[in-house]
Symmetry: C2
Subunit: 568 residues, 2 copies
């Protein structure tokens, strides 16, 4: 309780700042009304007709909305440092970020999480971390670190840790695995929000999964899937990222059925920095939803108040007295271009560009540690028998789930030569075990070359795809040299490399330059034939994530992600 | 976390009970779908297709909705014991009650509150108490007890105490009164919900009031008032009781403007037992809202999930896994007649009728303690000068707020004789001070008689209205004799009395008989001319409540409830 709010509200004391002549986006009734916003001590003291302030900004009829909330993301997936990432989010009006640092945790465990917390928390944004629940995501792969229930419990006391990150181990939950249950119980008893991850889980299995105390899910790809989850009590985080575009299907369904939306929020999960720079995150989701026929005020509520409520952030998400003064002023509700972004009543962008960055420390550099020598034989055709049939990962345009195809061993050489098929391999890169998982993939599209990345969800081993073993070896060596990143090889030569010096996941170069470099390497990949339906590197990095159906590859081998077993 | 939920959800263990072949009211998307509800250990394990159970009830296509929530009421206003009151609520599907026992607290302080807690908590309902914040409501009257911030803080540790009851002392909040602020701060810091009470408060004053940490309000009488409060961040509890009928105006407005409703709940505030018996409470509100064009699923969400969220009751308000198995099975969504009501998975009605009642104890009886002798001179016309002008309380049909009228002293005798005007008096009845406040009232309608009650909000002094002093004296004596209740006098004779033996507020006789007696005495009052726009006794009892505009009467005198001062 702060007496100054009351005195400013009553007009008896000057506000620190008044935003004058605004159109207030009221996320409670989902409508707009005219008014001024009086701010004191970082909080909204009042909305109405106010003049008494130390500073007045006339917003001249522009729209004053609550600061937006990205309800679920992995900052590491932007490949930028938390500082650089936050700047891009702030630029487009996101003032609250809920991030699950499970990428870095898979490489560096709690040291990685603490770096992410430290680097995000000094920025002018509400920066919350969901403690990664599944490191590694499954027992079917080798990550840099394993996080046990005991370490998860310790994280509870860290300021900035909001809840438990996405519980991807659906079979573990359904079987009542002791370690999984311990993690859930610890966070549940502490009253924290538990994020779920239940792609295509339905019926009795969905009921069983949720009954263990799961609160949210961001994996729905259709309205039917989202509706079943909503009905079952999950909050649905509608995902619109660089690789996953789920918003259209879900929002179209919700609009068509005039469904209540108070248990829906927006999130990106994984979105490239260049994409964020171009269009923002939640602001982009709001715009898409509005274009699909949703009332824009409702879409803004989904992108602010709803997320705040789902995550128990009581004083965030609305333009009303007592709420933290996190605000975005939009030029209008069609273009949604921010004129101002405030965090705790202060110009967040101005503050952000003044912030110096936190040095990640040597421990987080030099994370690529491959066992043995990688040669063409590591990926060679000698691994395939001509008289056997092999499963093929079939990429699905615009999606991260995959179908399961097949090819006879005899047809592999010609399919590779015709660029209709690629080899794909996961090279363990944390503990020099020498593990290599080798498989086949269709639909990626690259011609006469290879692409490789040390971003390989979620264990972040080195993932390489190519039209022949020779190109792949060159790619692997390039990433060994620079200690992680993205690389492209064409006809045996490296044509571009983007180093990701922090854990092989993130770059410590400035956000703008990083975006340019990312755009350049991506464009080069498209020029080499990568399908326009995929992000050349983000989509690729999901091919190693064994919790998403149907077929994946890990450092242990080709994996059936529906039945949770390797394909022999 | 309960493993059995998961095992039942997966179909691996039998449920305790399955409600088979239902239409599930989904309050998340506000729609209906077909399914079975599997219950174990008092919780919903799953919704879907289920058969494995110890007991199966085939609901044959009827509608399974969440148990309803009455978000704000004063059980004492039913004049029944908590046990009798709860039975009537259960009959119509309310499984969660949030009650503010400020009536009994005004008579007996924490002893009264503890009785209400004890008597409600053993019933098969979720019985929550909001700790009365304003006992007495204002310093402008004398109640039986004064509750200070220190006593309020002690109540925090009582199981069953949910938050702070309606903060009616708006001027105290706006002026930052130390005692008021202490109460608010104590409950705010404990993370509890703080109920507000801000009739007609608007603009800067509303902003100032809310900024002190108020969460809810149930006093809106128009959509414009409700909308301003919603926009300002308050949860609006739409009131539909015996005396106050605010639902139509608010819901019509919300429907017309297609406003989002997630911050709206339903409540009764004060509703007579007979009215509850006839039509229920929240179920009646849902029906009214539906008749006004609101989607019935949305109205049910307002009457269940929304209230649960507003009050932070995380596992109440929905038919979904992990929620407490509080359910009401309605025959259809037009008539809304409950076929079954479950609390924690058990037939609540069957449990309720088996419960014995808690004896209130002698201390709560014998509460009428009037000082000096009451004679006709106490209320006589000698109190009015012929050459002065007097303010008159003008009752407004269907409302509890009043207008302020006037009459010249010379005109009083004839107006009384013609039954166009009544005398109204508040006789202090707790500490025998001999205080009497005397005034004039128009619009009540009684002819050639008097009505009196020891229910006089909120200090519960003895309130008597009559067409001449002689009738009023007879009425006062009748209530002295029976130690509180309602009485009616016609031409100098008592024609009916309903004793309210518990604190002069509640009757310990069974609910059904009480309802009959209430109906009888009310009908008699109407026969004596009381306006059909009012409840003869409930409406009357509000004439003493100095926190509702415009004019009220207390034991100290006639009170200007807009400017918070007595009228000399």
């Amino acid at each position: 309780m702060n007496d100054r709010l009351r005195l400013v509200a009553l007009g008896e004391q000057p506000a620190d700042l008044i935003l004058k002549n605004g159109k207030i986006v009221d996320v409670f009734t989902e409508s707009v009304f005219e008014g001024d916003v009086a701010i004191v001590d970082g909080y909204i003291a009042a909305v109405g007709s106010y003049d008494n302030a130390k500073e007045i900004i006339d917003v001249q009829g522009q729209y004053i909305a609550p600061g937006l909330i990205n309800a679920h993301c992995h900052v590491e997936s932007s490949m930028a440092t938390p500082e650089a990432y936050v700047k891009e989010e702030l630029r487009w009006g996101v003032t609250t970020l809920i991030t699950d640092p499970h990428e870095i945790a898979n490489v560096m465990g709690t040291d990685g999480i603490h770096y992410m917390l430290q680097a995000g928390s000094h920025m002018p944004i509400n920066y919350y971390v969901e403690a990664p629940s599944c490191v590694p995501a499954t027992p079917f792969e080798h990550s840099g670190c394993i996080m046990h229930a005991a370490e998860m419990a310790e994280l509870l006391s860290d300021a900035g840790v909001l809840g438990l990150g996405e519980m991807m181990n659906v079979p573990g939950v359904l079987m009542g695995d002791a370690e999984v249950m311990k993690k859930l119980k610890t966070y549940q008893e502490a009253g924290r929000v538990i994020d779920g991850h239940a792609p295509c889980v339905t019926g009795k299995q969905l009921q069983g999964y949720i009954s263990a105390g799961i609160d949210t899910d961001h994996e729905s790809i259709s309205w039917d899937e989202a509706k079943e989850k909503l009905r079952s009590g999950l909050a649905v985080l509608v995902r619109e990222g660089s690789a996953c575009h789920n918003l259209k299907a879900i929002i179209e369904g919700a609009v068509k059925e005039n469904a209540a939306t108070s248990r829906m929020a927006f999130c990106t999960d994984d979105k490239h920095l260049a994409d964020i720079k171009n269009e923002g995150t939640i602001r982009h989701s709001i715009q898409l939803a509005s274009e699909l026929g949703m009332k824009v005020e409702k879409a803004i509520a989904i992108g602010s108040l709803n997320a705040a409520r789902i995550y128990g952030l009581k004083d965030l998400g609305a333009v009303a007295t007592g709420y933290q003064a996190d605000l975005v002023v939009f030029n209008n509700l069609e273009e949604l271009i921010p004129s101002y972004v405030f965090h705790k009543g202060q110009d967040a962008w101005k503050l952000a560009i003044k912030e110096t960055w936190i040095e990640p420390g040597k421990m987080l550099r030099g994370s690529v540690n491959i066992g043995g020598e990688i040669t063409a034989a590591s990926f060679g055709l000698e691994h395939f028998d001509a008289d056997k049939t092999y499963s093929v990962i079939e990429m699905v345009p615009g999606e991260i789930y995959t179908e399961r195809g097949a090819i006879s061993g005899a047809d592999i050489p010609s399919a590779l030569a015709k660029n209709e098929l690629c080899l794909i391999a996961v090279v363990e890169r944390h503990h020099a075990t020498g593990n290599i998982g080798l498989g086949l993939i269709r639909g990626y599209g690259i011609r006469n070359g290879a692409a490789a990345t040390t971003v390989g969800h979620d264990s972040h081993n080195l993932l390489v795809v190519g039209t022949n073993p020779e190109n792949m070896v060159v790619a692997v060596h390039a990433l060994q040299m620079c200690q992680g990143g993205y690389t492209l090889v064409e006809n045996g030569e490296v044509v571009d490399t983007l180093p990701l010096d922090i854990c092989g996941l993130m770059s410590s170069i400035a956000g703008d330059i990083l975006s340019e470099k990312l755009e350049k390497i991506s464009n080069r990949a498209y020029a080499m034939g990568v399908s326009p339906w995929f992000d050349p590197f983000i989509s690729l990095s999901f091919m190693a994530l064994p919790v998403i159906p149907k077929l994946r590859i890990t450092d242990i081998g080709l994996f059936d992600a529906e039945n949770f077993k390797f394909i022999s």
